[in-house]
């Protein structure tokens, strides 16, 4: 179970003036760790989680003050328009990309669409929704951001430590209306390892086009490796090891 890792207190991410009372939605409140933070900050919150056994455990063990729902968010929310001042979500969005059945309502685009349109309606104007999630590909990011945009959200992707494998975290920051940050929508700055990747939807698409997706990683079996291997075989006494020449380890034309 991943621990929620707020880089900053919720009110900064959600652009709520500190000390202002607010009702928040915690999507995928899981083990209740994020709920505890919300409790400590004094927010009223409701959270939803899709695992009956676990939700029960959360309510009793963590004694969180927020109201918990057993809900599959891919089915949409049923809150009155403008109910919440903000929404947070840790490690949940990638689950919307699973299709558990072959029913049309189970397809990821359908679920994402239902999720984002009902969420947009449930949020006040202006407000924000912040998601930290684990996309496995740029296609996933693209799908999620395009559907969120269609649902009426502004905002974009922010990546913390984009060049670090361990510390890298992907956030989707969505705005309803201006996002409460004045007229100009300001995405939070990603924490930089070297250079951040904070981009709006349009820039994101351009960057993806420019990026060389077909580039291979450095081949493991380079010339040095091959030479070492051949030497090893010779030492072991293997017969028929070809002698080294200028053609050794040369790239061949693909046969198929």
């Amino acid at each position: 179970m991943s621990r929620p890792e707020f880089q900053a207190p919720p009110e900064i991410l959600l652009n709520i003036p500190p000390g202002d009372p607010a009702i928040l939605l915690d999507i995928g409140c899981g083990s209740g760790l994020s709920g505890e933070i919300l409790d400590e900050e004094g927010y009223i919150w409701a959270g939803c989680r899709y695992c009956p056994k676990y939700a029960w455990w959360v309510a009793l063990e963590r004694e969180v003050e927020g109201d918990l729902f057993l809900q599959d968010v891919g089915q949409g929310f049923g809150f009155r328009p403008g109910s919440f001042d903000g929404a947070i979500s840790i490690s949940v969005l990638q689950w919307l990309l699973n299709a558990e059945t072959s029913h049309p309502t189970s397809s990821p685009p359908h679920r994402l669409n239902r999720f984002f349109t009902t969420l947009h309606s449930a949020l006040r104007n202006p407000s924000r929704a912040i998601f930290q999630f684990y996309p496995t590909s740029d296609d996933q990011i693209q799908l999620i951001t395009s559907i969120a945009q269609k649902a009426g959200f502004g905002g974009g992707i922010v990546v913390d430590y984009p060049n670090s494998n361990k510390a890298r975290k992907v956030f989707l920051c969505l705005f309803v209306g201006g996002g409460g940050g004045g007229q100009q929508q300001q995405l939070p700055m990603g924490l930089a390892g070297d250079g951040d990747e904070h981009a709006r939807f349009e820039n994101r698409r351009e960057k993806e086009r420019k990026r060389d997706r077909s580039g291979k990683r450095k081949a493991v079996k380079d010339k040095d490796w091959i030479l070492k291997k051949k030497e090893l075989y010779r030492q072991r006494g293997k017969e028929g090891v070809p002698r080294d020449s200028k053609y050794t380890a040369r790239k061949r034309k693909p046969a198929f």
């Binding site: 729902f69 599959d72 089915q75 809150f79 009155r80 189970s106 009902t118």
Partner: protein
């Protein structure tokens, strides 16, 4: 636990159920009272987004008649405290919430409402 503040925000999200889907009607409820810190600013902030009629009805159903039937223009401290109690200190532990439009039942057990829909009910 389902507090009355949350219930006041909840509508039915079954496919096609978009009118008269609020408020969900409580049935066979068991409640628990839990004290919560009183924050008058929080309660005042909540006022504009409350559906007062639905709140009063829900409160009456669980046995609380402290709130006036119409939302008053001015809220004094006494009324804010009563509102705080109704919104945040009454927890529904068991019961059912039923949509007045499509009659879908959302059961509540161990304080957790089950909002899952059947396949044919997904919008």
């Amino acid at each position: 636990m389902v507090r009355l503040i949350t219930h006041n925000l909840l509508a039915c999200h079954v496919k096609g159920c978009t009118s008269n889907n609020f408020p969900l009607k409580f049935q066979d409820v068991q409640i628990e009272l839990q004290e919560a810190d009183f924050n008058p600013d929080m309660i005042t902030n909540l006022l504009p987004r409350l559906e007062w009629g639905a709140l009063v009805d829900a409160a009456r159903l669980v046995g609380d008649t402290s709130l006036p039937p119409e939302q008053p223009e001015m809220m004094d401290d006494d009324l804010l405290r009563k509102l705080h109690h109704v919104l945040l200190e009454i927890h529904v532990v068991e019961g059912v919430m039923i949509c007045p439009n499509c009659s879908h039942s959302y059961p509540i057990s161990n304080g957790i409402p089950n909002m899952l829909l059947a396949e044919h009910e997904i919008g």
